[in-house]
Protein backbone atom coordinates (compact mmCIF):
# COMPACT_ATOMS: atom_id res chain seq x y z
CA UNK A 1 0.00 0.00 0.00
CA UNK A 2 1.41 3.36 -1.04
CA UNK A 3 0.44 6.72 0.33
CA UNK A 4 -0.32 9.01 -2.62
CA UNK A 5 0.14 12.79 -2.39
CA UNK A 6 -1.30 15.11 -5.03
CA UNK A 7 0.02 18.56 -5.84
CA UNK A 8 -2.20 21.35 -4.48
CA UNK A 9 -2.51 22.69 -8.04
CA UNK A 10 -4.46 19.53 -8.92
CA UNK A 11 -7.23 20.41 -6.47
CA UNK A 12 -9.20 21.94 -9.34
CA UNK A 13 -9.48 18.52 -10.94
CA UNK A 14 -9.25 16.12 -7.96
CA UNK A 15 -10.88 16.83 -4.60
CA UNK A 16 -8.69 14.41 -2.63
CA UNK A 17 -5.11 15.40 -1.97
CA UNK A 18 -3.89 12.34 -0.11
CA UNK A 19 -5.06 8.74 -0.25
CA UNK A 20 -3.79 5.19 -0.03
CA UNK A 21 -3.61 2.86 -3.02
CA UNK A 22 -2.67 -0.75 -3.64
CA UNK A 23 -2.36 -0.32 -7.43
CA UNK A 24 0.44 -2.59 -8.75
CA UNK A 25 1.97 -0.01 -11.11
CA UNK A 26 2.04 3.72 -11.58
CA UNK A 27 -0.07 3.37 -14.76
CA UNK A 28 -2.70 1.43 -12.79
CA UNK A 29 -2.59 4.05 -10.04
CA UNK A 30 -3.30 6.81 -12.56
CA UNK A 31 -6.18 4.74 -13.99
CA UNK A 32 -7.60 4.46 -10.48
CA UNK A 33 -7.14 8.16 -9.89
CA UNK A 34 -8.94 9.05 -13.14
CA UNK A 35 -11.85 6.75 -12.28
CA UNK A 36 -12.14 8.47 -8.93
CA UNK A 37 -11.71 12.00 -10.38
CA UNK A 38 -12.76 11.97 -14.05
CA UNK A 39 -11.59 15.54 -14.63
CA UNK A 40 -8.03 14.29 -14.16
CA UNK A 41 -8.28 12.36 -17.45
CA UNK A 42 -5.71 13.67 -19.93
CA UNK A 43 -4.36 16.15 -17.39
CA UNK A 44 -1.53 13.94 -16.14
CA UNK A 45 -1.20 11.73 -19.24
CA UNK A 46 -2.06 12.87 -22.76
CA UNK A 47 -4.37 10.85 -24.98
CA UNK A 48 -1.47 8.65 -26.15
CA UNK A 49 -0.91 7.63 -22.54
CA UNK A 50 2.33 9.57 -22.11
CA UNK A 51 2.98 11.51 -18.93
CA UNK A 52 2.74 15.23 -19.67
CA UNK A 53 6.03 17.07 -19.85
CA UNK A 54 5.68 19.09 -16.68
CA UNK A 55 4.04 16.41 -14.56
CA UNK A 56 6.57 14.79 -12.28
CA UNK A 57 5.97 11.62 -10.31
CA UNK A 58 8.22 10.41 -7.52
CA UNK A 59 8.00 6.93 -6.03
CA UNK A 60 9.68 6.79 -2.64
CA UNK A 61 11.39 10.05 -3.53
CA UNK A 62 12.78 8.86 -6.88
CA UNK A 63 11.55 10.45 -10.08
CA UNK A 64 10.02 7.78 -12.33
CA UNK A 65 11.30 9.41 -15.51
CA UNK A 66 14.71 8.17 -14.45
CA UNK A 67 13.48 4.58 -14.07
CA UNK A 68 10.59 2.66 -15.60
CA UNK A 69 8.20 5.56 -16.13
CA UNK A 70 4.54 4.64 -16.02
CA UNK A 71 5.43 0.94 -15.79
CA UNK A 72 7.13 1.57 -12.45
CA UNK A 73 6.07 -1.11 -9.99
CA UNK A 74 4.50 0.12 -6.79
CA UNK A 75 5.05 -3.17 -5.00
CA UNK A 76 6.56 -2.31 -1.64
CA UNK A 77 6.41 1.43 -2.38
CA UNK A 78 5.59 3.66 0.56
CA UNK A 79 4.93 7.03 -1.07
CA UNK A 80 3.94 8.36 -4.48
CA UNK A 81 4.14 12.13 -5.04
CA UNK A 82 2.45 13.62 -8.12
CA UNK A 83 3.72 17.16 -8.69
CA UNK A 84 4.09 19.84 -11.33
CA UNK A 85 7.66 20.65 -12.19
CA UNK A 86 9.49 23.95 -11.94
CA UNK A 87 8.37 25.74 -15.08
CA UNK A 88 6.68 28.90 -16.23
CA UNK A 89 7.43 32.58 -16.42
Amino acid sequence: MAEVHLDAMLREFAPRRNFVSDAPTLDALLDELERDSPRLRHKLRDETGVLRRYVKVFVDGREVGASAGLATSLEGARTVDILHSIAGG
Binding site: H42, K43, L44, D46, E47, T48, R52, Y54, V55
Partner: protein
Protein backbone atom coordinates in the same frame (compact mmCIF):
# COMPACT_ATOMS: atom_id res chain seq x y z
CA UNK B 1 -34.77 46.35 -20.28
CA UNK B 2 -31.09 46.00 -19.46
CA UNK B 3 -28.73 48.23 -21.38
CA UNK B 4 -26.63 46.40 -23.92
CA UNK B 5 -22.97 45.98 -23.10
CA UNK B 6 -19.93 45.60 -25.25
CA UNK B 7 -17.53 42.95 -24.04
CA UNK B 8 -14.02 42.50 -25.31
CA UNK B 9 -12.91 38.90 -24.81
CA UNK B 10 -9.18 38.94 -24.27
CA UNK B 11 -7.09 35.75 -24.39
CA UNK B 12 -3.66 36.25 -22.87
CA UNK B 13 -0.54 34.33 -21.93
CA UNK B 14 -1.83 34.25 -18.35
CA UNK B 15 -5.58 33.92 -18.48
CA UNK B 16 -8.88 35.18 -19.85
CA UNK B 17 -10.07 38.74 -19.30
CA UNK B 18 -13.51 40.16 -20.04
CA UNK B 19 -13.44 43.93 -20.54
CA UNK B 20 -16.82 45.67 -20.44
CA UNK B 21 -18.31 48.96 -21.52
CA UNK B 22 -21.64 50.43 -22.46
CA UNK B 23 -22.27 50.90 -26.16
CA UNK B 24 -20.58 54.31 -26.16
CA UNK B 25 -17.31 52.41 -25.58
CA UNK B 26 -15.55 55.30 -23.85
CA UNK B 27 -14.98 53.80 -20.40
CA UNK B 28 -13.91 50.22 -19.76
CA UNK B 29 -14.03 47.91 -16.76
CA UNK B 30 -11.70 44.92 -16.58
CA UNK B 31 -13.25 41.96 -14.80
CA UNK B 32 -11.06 39.59 -12.70
CA UNK B 33 -8.98 37.11 -14.64
CA UNK B 34 -10.17 33.54 -15.10
CA UNK B 35 -8.01 30.52 -15.88
CA UNK B 36 -5.14 32.51 -14.41
CA UNK B 37 -1.71 31.38 -15.49
CA UNK B 38 -2.87 29.51 -18.57
CA UNK B 39 -2.29 30.34 -22.20
CA UNK B 40 -5.59 31.37 -23.72
CA UNK B 41 -5.20 31.28 -27.49
CA UNK B 42 -8.79 32.31 -28.28
CA UNK B 43 -12.01 33.30 -26.55
CA UNK B 44 -15.14 33.61 -28.62
CA UNK B 45 -18.80 34.43 -28.10
CA UNK B 46 -21.61 32.32 -29.49
CA UNK B 47 -23.98 34.80 -31.17
CA UNK B 48 -26.71 32.14 -31.35
CA UNK B 49 -26.93 32.02 -27.56
CA UNK B 50 -26.10 35.40 -26.02
CA UNK B 51 -23.95 35.05 -22.92
CA UNK B 52 -22.27 31.85 -24.07
CA UNK B 53 -18.52 32.03 -24.47
CA UNK B 54 -15.93 29.40 -25.34
CA UNK B 55 -12.26 29.56 -24.36
CA UNK B 56 -9.37 27.64 -25.92
CA UNK B 57 -7.24 27.10 -22.82
CA UNK B 58 -3.74 25.66 -23.02
CA UNK B 59 -2.15 24.77 -19.70
CA UNK B 60 1.58 24.23 -19.70
CA UNK B 61 1.08 21.64 -16.98
CA UNK B 62 -2.21 19.93 -17.70
CA UNK B 63 -2.58 20.27 -21.46
CA UNK B 64 -5.39 21.73 -23.58
CA UNK B 65 -8.81 22.28 -22.00
CA UNK B 66 -12.02 23.75 -23.45
CA UNK B 67 -14.06 25.94 -21.11
CA UNK B 68 -17.56 27.28 -21.67
CA UNK B 69 -19.39 30.08 -19.90
CA UNK B 70 -23.12 30.79 -19.94
CA UNK B 71 -22.96 34.14 -18.13
CA UNK B 72 -20.59 36.28 -20.19
CA UNK B 73 -17.53 34.87 -18.47
CA UNK B 74 -18.55 35.36 -14.83
CA UNK B 75 -18.19 31.58 -14.36
CA UNK B 76 -16.68 28.88 -16.53
CA UNK B 77 -17.15 25.13 -16.80
CA UNK B 78 -14.77 22.65 -18.34
CA UNK B 79 -16.40 20.81 -21.25
CA UNK B 80 -14.87 18.09 -23.42
CA UNK B 81 -11.50 18.61 -25.08
CA UNK B 82 -10.77 17.34 -28.61
CA UNK B 83 -8.23 14.54 -28.64
CA UNK B 84 -6.13 13.05 -31.38
CA UNK B 85 -7.64 9.62 -32.00
CA UNK B 86 -4.86 7.21 -31.10
CA UNK B 87 -4.61 3.46 -31.36
CA UNK B 88 -3.18 3.26 -27.88
CA UNK B 89 -6.11 5.12 -26.41
CA UNK B 90 -8.20 3.10 -24.04
CA UNK B 91 -11.25 4.53 -25.75
CA UNK B 92 -10.47 4.93 -29.45
CA UNK B 93 -12.52 7.70 -30.96
CA UNK B 94 -12.56 6.22 -34.44
CA UNK B 95 -10.75 3.80 -36.72
CA UNK B 96 -7.47 2.94 -34.98
CA UNK B 97 -5.93 2.08 -38.38
CA UNK B 98 -6.33 5.68 -39.51
CA UNK B 99 -3.01 7.41 -40.27
CA UNK B 100 -3.99 9.93 -37.63
CA UNK B 101 -3.95 7.18 -35.06
CA UNK B 102 -0.19 7.35 -35.17
CA UNK B 103 -0.24 11.10 -34.68
CA UNK B 104 0.85 13.32 -31.87
CA UNK B 105 -1.52 14.27 -29.10
CA UNK B 106 -3.34 17.57 -29.34
CA UNK B 107 -0.99 20.01 -27.66
CA UNK B 108 -2.71 23.34 -28.25
CA UNK B 109 -6.20 24.57 -29.01
CA UNK B 110 -6.00 27.49 -31.45
CA UNK B 111 -9.39 28.68 -32.55
CA UNK B 112 -13.03 28.08 -31.66
CA UNK B 113 -15.78 28.95 -34.14
CA UNK B 114 -19.51 28.70 -33.51
CA UNK B 115 -21.30 26.96 -36.36
CA UNK B 116 -23.99 28.25 -38.69
CA UNK B 117 -27.15 29.75 -37.10
CA UNK B 118 -29.18 26.85 -38.58
CA UNK B 119 -27.07 24.43 -36.48
CA UNK B 120 -27.36 26.08 -33.08
CA UNK B 121 -25.39 23.48 -31.11
CA UNK B 122 -22.52 23.09 -33.56
CA UNK B 123 -19.06 24.37 -32.70
CA UNK B 124 -15.72 23.87 -34.46
CA UNK B 125 -12.24 23.92 -33.02
CA UNK B 126 -8.82 24.02 -34.68
CA UNK B 127 -5.79 22.43 -33.06
CA UNK B 128 -2.07 21.83 -33.13
CA UNK B 129 -1.20 19.38 -34.62
CA UNK B 130 -3.26 20.33 -37.69
CA UNK B 131 -6.74 19.22 -36.73
CA UNK B 132 -10.34 20.27 -37.16
CA UNK B 133 -12.94 19.00 -34.73
CA UNK B 134 -16.71 19.37 -34.72
CA UNK B 135 -19.10 19.28 -31.79
CA UNK B 136 -22.86 19.08 -32.22
CA UNK B 137 -23.61 19.41 -28.52
CA UNK B 138 -22.00 22.75 -27.63
CA UNK B 139 -18.63 21.24 -26.77
CA UNK B 140 -19.75 18.28 -24.66
CA UNK B 141 -18.13 15.91 -27.20
CA UNK B 142 -15.98 16.29 -30.32
CA UNK B 143 -15.45 14.36 -33.54
CA UNK B 144 -12.47 14.83 -35.83
CA UNK B 145 -13.19 16.10 -39.33
CA UNK B 146 -11.40 13.15 -40.84
CA UNK B 147 -10.33 14.77 -44.12
CA UNK B 148 -7.86 16.91 -42.19
CA UNK B 149 -6.72 14.15 -39.87
CA UNK B 150 -6.36 11.54 -42.64
CA UNK B 151 -5.05 13.63 -45.51
CA UNK B 152 -2.41 11.65 -47.44
CA UNK B 153 -0.15 14.70 -47.72
CA UNK B 154 -0.33 15.40 -44.04
CA UNK B 155 3.08 13.88 -43.46
CA UNK B 156 4.51 16.61 -45.69
CA UNK B 157 2.79 19.48 -43.89
CA UNK B 158 5.41 21.53 -42.10
CA UNK B 159 4.86 23.58 -38.98
CA UNK B 160 5.14 27.35 -39.01
CA UNK B 161 6.91 29.08 -36.14
CA UNK B 162 3.75 28.79 -34.06
CA UNK B 163 3.55 25.03 -34.61
CA UNK B 164 1.51 22.89 -37.02
CA UNK B 165 -1.77 24.57 -36.29
CA UNK B 166 -5.21 24.94 -37.80
CA UNK B 167 -6.02 28.46 -36.72
CA UNK B 168 -8.74 29.80 -39.00
CA UNK B 169 -12.26 28.40 -39.36
CA UNK B 170 -14.89 30.32 -41.34
CA UNK B 171 -18.46 29.18 -41.89
CA UNK B 172 -20.25 30.91 -44.75
CA UNK B 173 -23.19 32.78 -43.18
CA UNK B 174 -25.35 31.92 -46.23
CA UNK B 175 -24.69 28.18 -46.29
CA UNK B 176 -23.67 25.88 -43.43
CA UNK B 177 -22.09 23.47 -45.90
CA UNK B 178 -19.59 25.99 -47.19
CA UNK B 179 -16.57 26.32 -44.93
CA UNK B 180 -13.00 27.52 -45.13
CA UNK B 181 -10.00 26.61 -43.00
CA UNK B 182 -6.50 28.03 -42.71
CA UNK B 183 -3.45 26.09 -41.56
CA UNK B 184 0.02 27.45 -40.92
CA UNK B 185 2.47 26.55 -43.70
CA UNK B 186 -0.25 24.54 -45.48
CA UNK B 187 -2.66 27.22 -46.70
CA UNK B 188 -6.39 27.72 -47.04
CA UNK B 189 -8.97 25.14 -48.11
CA UNK B 190 -12.66 25.26 -48.99
CA UNK B 191 -15.37 22.67 -48.45
CA UNK B 192 -18.85 22.74 -50.00
CA UNK B 193 -20.13 19.64 -48.23
CA UNK B 194 -19.78 20.53 -44.54
CA UNK B 195 -16.21 19.31 -44.30
CA UNK B 196 -16.35 15.93 -46.05
CA UNK B 197 -14.11 17.14 -48.88
CA UNK B 198 -11.82 20.12 -49.20
CA UNK B 199 -9.76 21.67 -51.94
CA UNK B 200 -6.88 24.13 -51.69
CA UNK B 201 -7.56 27.79 -52.39
CA UNK B 202 -4.14 29.44 -52.52
CA UNK B 203 -3.82 30.49 -56.14
CA UNK B 204 -1.66 33.59 -56.52
CA UNK B 205 -0.42 33.59 -52.92
CA UNK B 206 3.35 33.73 -52.86
CA UNK B 207 5.56 31.53 -50.68
CA UNK B 208 8.75 33.60 -50.32
CA UNK B 209 10.22 31.02 -47.95
CA UNK B 210 10.59 28.17 -50.44
CA UNK B 211 11.98 27.68 -53.95
CA UNK B 212 8.59 27.27 -55.68
CA UNK B 213 6.91 30.65 -55.39
CA UNK B 214 3.30 29.75 -56.21
CA UNK B 215 2.63 26.13 -55.18
CA UNK B 216 -0.87 24.73 -54.80
CA UNK B 217 -0.35 24.36 -51.04
CA UNK B 218 2.37 25.25 -48.55
CA UNK B 219 1.37 28.90 -48.09
CA UNK B 220 1.75 30.14 -44.55
CA UNK B 221 -1.63 31.76 -44.10
CA UNK B 222 -1.76 33.77 -40.89
CA UNK B 223 -5.43 34.72 -40.77
CA UNK B 224 -8.44 35.32 -43.02
CA UNK B 225 -11.62 37.37 -42.54
CA UNK B 226 -14.76 37.27 -44.68
CA UNK B 227 -16.39 40.50 -45.72
CA UNK B 228 -19.35 41.21 -43.48
CA UNK B 229 -21.74 42.03 -46.32
CA UNK B 230 -20.44 39.87 -49.14
CA UNK B 231 -18.93 36.62 -47.85
CA UNK B 232 -17.63 35.87 -51.36
CA UNK B 233 -14.95 38.42 -50.51
CA UNK B 234 -12.12 37.26 -48.25
CA UNK B 235 -9.26 39.28 -46.80
CA UNK B 236 -6.10 37.36 -46.11
CA UNK B 237 -3.01 38.14 -44.08
CA UNK B 238 -0.43 35.66 -45.24
CA UNK B 239 3.26 35.31 -44.51
CA UNK B 240 3.61 36.26 -48.15
CA UNK B 241 1.55 39.45 -47.98
CA UNK B 242 -1.92 41.00 -47.75
CA UNK B 243 -4.40 39.57 -50.25
CA UNK B 244 -8.05 39.78 -51.33
CA UNK B 245 -10.16 37.19 -53.12
CA UNK B 246 -13.63 38.06 -54.41
CA UNK B 247 -14.88 34.65 -55.53
CA UNK B 248 -15.33 32.48 -52.45
CA UNK B 249 -11.56 31.92 -52.35
CA UNK B 250 -11.67 30.33 -55.83
CA UNK B 251 -9.25 31.55 -58.46
CA UNK B 252 -6.46 34.00 -57.86
CA UNK B 253 -5.90 36.06 -54.76
CA UNK B 254 -4.87 39.64 -55.48
CA UNK B 255 -1.91 40.91 -53.50
CA UNK B 256 -3.26 44.30 -52.46
CA UNK B 257 -0.47 44.84 -49.94
CA UNK B 258 1.90 45.92 -52.71
CA UNK B 259 -0.38 48.47 -54.36
CA UNK B 260 0.38 52.19 -54.31
CA UNK B 261 -0.28 53.72 -50.90
CA UNK B 262 -0.04 50.36 -49.12
CA UNK B 263 1.41 49.90 -45.62
CA UNK B 264 5.21 49.98 -45.26
CA UNK B 265 5.34 46.19 -45.32
CA UNK B 266 2.55 43.74 -46.09
CA UNK B 267 3.75 41.17 -43.60
CA UNK B 268 1.66 40.73 -40.47
CA UNK B 269 -0.55 38.29 -38.64
CA UNK B 270 -3.90 39.90 -37.93
CA UNK B 271 -6.84 40.90 -40.11
CA UNK B 272 -10.48 41.59 -39.39
CA UNK B 273 -13.61 42.97 -41.02
CA UNK B 274 -16.49 44.83 -39.42
CA UNK B 275 -20.25 44.28 -40.01
CA UNK B 276 -20.82 48.04 -40.17
CA UNK B 277 -18.03 48.55 -42.71
CA UNK B 278 -18.69 46.33 -45.72
CA UNK B 279 -15.94 46.30 -48.28
CA UNK B 280 -13.25 47.09 -45.74
CA UNK B 281 -10.63 45.14 -43.83
CA UNK B 282 -8.18 46.14 -41.14
CA UNK B 283 -4.58 44.94 -41.00
CA UNK B 284 -1.66 45.49 -38.61
CA UNK B 285 1.52 45.56 -40.70
CA UNK B 286 4.65 44.21 -39.04
CA UNK B 287 8.12 43.60 -40.30
CA UNK B 288 11.74 42.81 -39.77
CA UNK B 289 13.14 39.90 -37.87
CA UNK B 290 11.41 41.21 -34.74
CA UNK B 291 7.95 40.94 -36.38
CA UNK B 292 6.97 44.23 -34.77
CA UNK B 293 5.38 47.46 -35.98
CA UNK B 294 7.55 49.41 -38.39
CA UNK B 295 6.79 53.10 -38.01
CA UNK B 296 7.67 53.65 -34.35
CA UNK B 297 4.23 53.00 -32.94
CA UNK B 298 1.09 50.93 -33.10
CA UNK B 299 -0.09 50.95 -36.68
CA UNK B 300 -3.47 49.91 -38.14
CA UNK B 301 -4.39 50.17 -41.82
CA UNK B 302 -7.73 49.97 -43.58
CA UNK B 303 -8.08 48.41 -47.02
CA UNK B 304 -11.19 49.65 -48.84
CA UNK B 305 -11.97 47.12 -51.52
CA UNK B 306 -14.56 49.38 -53.16
CA UNK B 307 -12.28 52.37 -53.66
CA UNK B 308 -9.17 50.16 -53.84
CA UNK B 309 -7.40 52.45 -51.45
CA UNK B 310 -5.30 52.03 -48.34
CA UNK B 311 -5.60 54.36 -45.38
CA UNK B 312 -3.76 54.52 -42.07
CA UNK B 313 -6.41 54.64 -39.34
CA UNK B 314 -4.11 54.71 -36.31
CA UNK B 315 -1.20 57.12 -36.36
CA UNK B 316 1.91 55.50 -34.90
CA UNK B 317 2.50 58.74 -33.00
CA UNK B 318 -0.43 57.97 -30.71
CA UNK B 319 1.04 54.86 -29.07
CA UNK B 320 4.82 55.02 -29.64
CA UNK B 321 6.79 51.80 -29.34
CA UNK B 322 7.54 48.55 -31.09
CA UNK B 323 4.50 46.31 -30.89
CA UNK B 324 3.74 42.73 -31.82
CA UNK B 325 0.17 41.73 -32.71
CA UNK B 326 -0.77 38.09 -33.19
CA UNK B 327 -3.20 36.55 -35.67
CA UNK B 328 -6.25 37.00 -33.45
CA UNK B 329 -5.00 40.36 -32.21
CA UNK B 330 -7.51 42.62 -34.00
CA UNK B 331 -11.30 42.49 -33.89
CA UNK B 332 -14.34 44.59 -34.65
CA UNK B 333 -17.73 44.78 -32.98
CA UNK B 334 -21.13 44.77 -34.68
CA UNK B 335 -22.14 48.31 -33.72
CA UNK B 336 -22.51 51.40 -35.86
CA UNK B 337 -20.04 53.08 -35.91
CA UNK B 338 -17.83 50.02 -35.73
CA UNK B 339 -15.60 49.52 -32.72
CA UNK B 340 -12.08 48.30 -33.39
CA UNK B 341 -9.93 46.50 -30.82
CA UNK B 342 -6.23 45.69 -30.98
CA UNK B 343 -4.34 43.61 -28.42
CA UNK B 344 -0.55 43.50 -28.37
CA UNK B 345 1.95 40.86 -27.36
CA UNK B 346 3.12 43.26 -24.64
CA UNK B 347 -0.32 43.50 -23.08
CA UNK B 348 -1.83 46.76 -24.35
CA UNK B 349 -5.48 46.82 -25.44
CA UNK B 350 -6.40 49.81 -27.59
CA UNK B 351 -9.93 50.64 -28.63
CA UNK B 352 -11.52 52.79 -31.29
CA UNK B 353 -15.25 53.39 -30.74
CA UNK B 354 -15.62 55.10 -34.12
CA UNK B 355 -14.11 52.94 -36.86
CA UNK B 356 -10.60 54.25 -36.36
CA UNK B 357 -11.22 58.00 -36.06
CA UNK B 358 -10.14 58.05 -32.40
CA UNK B 359 -8.34 55.56 -30.18
CA UNK B 360 -7.82 55.06 -26.45
CA UNK B 361 -5.71 52.71 -24.39
CA UNK B 362 -7.65 50.60 -21.89
CA UNK B 363 -5.85 51.57 -18.66
CA UNK B 364 -4.83 48.09 -17.63
CA UNK B 365 -1.57 46.22 -18.19
CA UNK B 366 -2.60 42.78 -19.44
CA UNK B 367 -0.25 39.85 -19.89
CA UNK B 368 0.79 39.36 -23.52
CA UNK B 369 -2.37 39.24 -25.61
CA UNK B 370 -3.01 36.34 -27.99
CA UNK B 371 -6.56 37.18 -29.05
CA UNK B 372 -9.33 39.74 -28.91
CA UNK B 373 -12.97 39.35 -29.88
CA UNK B 374 -15.85 41.75 -29.33
CA UNK B 375 -19.41 40.77 -28.41
CA UNK B 376 -22.48 42.96 -27.97
CA UNK B 377 -25.39 41.80 -25.84
Amino acid sequence: MAQKKVRVLVGTRKGTYIVESDTRRRSWKVRPVSNAGRDIFHVTADPRRPGTLFAAVNSGFWGPIVYRSSDWGKSWREVATPLTPVAKSREPMFDPDSPAAKGRPVINLWHIAPGHPSEPKTVFIGTDPHGLFRSDDRGESWSPVSWVQDHPDRKNWSPGAGGPCLHTILVDPRDPKRMYIGMSAVGTFRSDDAGAHWHPTNQGVETPFQPEKFPETGQCVHHVALDAEDPEVAYRQDHGGMYVNRHGMEGRWERVGKLKGAPPDDFGFAVTSAPALPGRAFFVPLGGEARTTLRGGLDVWEWNDRTRRWRSVLSPKLFPGDYGVQREGIAADALEPAGLYVGTTTGQLVVSPDAGRSWTLVPYQFPGIHSVEAAVG
